[in-house]
């Protein structure tokens, strides 16, 4: 079971959070056209390894967090609040 270290609330069980998927895909500009949005909505790296993802802390502070988690070991390396935006991949590589 995941224990996600919320920057605000501290370590909490995964059931307090709502998963919102890949945080590395950024929404294209409104006029970017269907192709760009198809990529945004459907295409995923789905890495077998480190994954930057959104978790909404619905059962706690209700902040949207980005979490860097390993999809095999589930180890969590970094967590941040969305206000810092979905940080560029360079920053979050472990």
């Amino acid at each position: 079971m995941l224990r996600i270290p919320c920057p605000w609330c501290g370590e909490r069980d995964e059931i307090e959070f709502r998963y919102r998927g890949d945080a590395r895909v950024a929404r294209p500009a409104g006029d970017a056209g269907p192709a760009a949005f198809t990529a945004y909505v459907y295409e995923r790296d789905n890495p077998c390894g480190w994954h930057l993802e959104w978790w909404l802390h619905t059962g706690g502070c209700r902040k949207l967090l980005w979490v860097l988690r390993h999809t095999v070991t589930h180890e969590i390396r970094k967590v941040g609040s969305s206000l810092e935006r979905a940080v560029p991949s360079a920053d979050v590589e472990p």
């Binding site: 995941l2 995964e14 994954h51 993802e53």
Partner: protein
């Protein structure tokens, strides 16, 4: 591109001798000889430098594709490359359910074709996979759910697929363990597909492997694909831990890991990998004769021939390649079980494991050409892969052999996402973790 390598006409007959034909008589004969006369069910092949078709993944779909290529389309110059031993991925980690009750008509047709192939499987493979059409029974708990199931059942009946409504009274007889008036979400009724049921999952992999091998296919174990070779856009073969293998067509049948393999070819897929938990209890004398699904929570269950209750729930809900589940879903599934079948209270759960699912963005599978010529994808099975093995194998083999989609799988192409033709069974939308 070189023309196809010559297939090996004699190989099949030679191989067929390998494990011999299975029958009661043979069993008796070998019994008198101390069971010493048996030999390997499938030939432990080493990879050759080139094949007409290389299938990556020795799971249900890969082995079935290889078998139908050889047995149905006469293409025997085929290798199945498996990273470890065959059949230990999702084909050996599921809850063994087969059924064809789907909402989208295209899916009903496809999965019912699969059911028909299951029905003739033993004779065809000469391997008893214990196809057991004991019926799948879906309970419903609200009028809205009744309407949905009615719509689905009517669609199935229009397409000539069996489906029937089951009253509360009949439920009492069919599933005495079910508590119809379980405080929270009483059971209003059910829908039954008699032709649904279960299959001994391991036997499916072994049976297809044996039959494919006998037909001349090389089943290569302990051979991990480490790269995909391209000549410009065209895919020309794979690199493996046992050397490079060239092929006219490379087919990925590695559900759970499709994204990883596709990435080797520079492709991004509309797929996320998620873990689905399954469980088995201690074995007891028969208490359940159908496959049962609870409609108000995550719980579906059947009793194996060995006596254990095999049951499962929903995916854990976040990307995962770890073949094990998290505790909250384990508890939730058990709570659902206890709510609909309080009589299970004292039954003990033995093992819990997880399978890594290819969760596609619309909940439907992908059997398709890819933007790269020479690369075929069989994946995105979500948690419906097992029941689809025969049809998935047949459709993929058809696509490889004819270069065109099998008529019953045409809707499963990769373009549907860009074109807005998604096949969303439950209308969940592009959120694999919510499917």
């Amino acid at each position: 591109m070189t023309p196809q390598a010559p297939s090996r006409p004699h190989s099949s007959s030679r191989e067929r001798a390998s494990s011999g034909r299975y029958s009661a008589w043979r069993l008796l004969k070998e019994g008198l000889g101390g069971q010493r006369g048996w030999s390997s069910a499938w030939r432990k092949a080493a990879p050759r430098p080139r094949y007409r078709v290389v299938i990556v993944g020795g799971g249900g779909h890969g082995l079935a594709t290889a078998y139908y290529l050889a047995a149905q389309f006469g293409i025997t110059d085929v290798a199945v490359l498996e990273r470890g031993p065959i059949g230990l991925g999702n084909v050996g980690r599921n809850t063994t359910i087969i059924r064809s009750n789907y909402f989208q008509p295209q899916n009903v047709r496809f999965y019912d074709y699969s059911l028909k192939l299951w029905e003739g499987l033993e004779e065809r493979l000469n391997f008893n996979a214990m196809v057991s059409q004991r019926g799948t029974l879906n309970l419903f708990h609200s009028e809205a759910q009744r309407d949905l199931f009615t719509r689905r059942a009517n669609m199935m009946r229009l397409l000539g697929v069996d489906a029937e409504a089951v009253s509360r009274e009949r439920l009492r007889e069919i599933v005495p363990l079910v508590e119809l008036d379980n405080g929270r979400y009483p059971v209003l009724g059910g829908f039954l597909q008699r032709r649904g049921g279960t299959v001994r999952h391991d036997a499916v992999a072994w049976g297809y492997a044996r039959a494919a091998s006998a037909a001349g296919v090389d089943v290569v174990e302990q051979c991990e694909v480490t790269g995909i070779c391209r000549d410009g856009a065209r895919v020309t073969g794979v690199l493996t831990t046992r050397g490079a293998v060239a092929a006219d067509t490379v087919c990925l049948a590695v559900a759970g890991h499709s994204s990883r393999l596709a990435a080797m070819a520079g492709l991004k897929l509309p797929i996320e990998s998620h873990v689905l938990q399954a469980f088995v209890t201690e074995s007891i004398k028969p208490v359940l004769d159908v496959v049962l699904t609870y409609g108000a929570g995550h719980f579906y269950v059947s009793q194996s021939d060995k006596g254990g209750l095999v049951y499962g729930g929903a995916i854990d809900g976040y990307n995962s390649y770890g073949q094990r589940g998290a505790l909250p879903m384990t508890e939730e599934v058990a709570a659902a079980a206890m709510t609909v079948m309080p009589g299970l209270a004292r039954l003990k759960v033995l093992r819990q494991w997880g399978g890594v699912m290819d969760m596609s963005m619309d909940g439907s599978p992908i059997i398709s050409k890819t933007p790269l010529p020479g690369l075929i994808l069989n994946g995105g099975w979500c948690y419906g892969g097992f029941k689809a093995i025969p049809a998935g194998g047949m459709a993929t083999a058809h696509l490889i052999a004819h270069g065109a989609a099998h008529p019953l799988a045409a809707h499963l192409d990769l373009e549907r996402f860009a074109l807005g033709r998604t096949v969303d069974e439950r209308g969940v939308g592009p959120f694999p973790y919510a499917h």
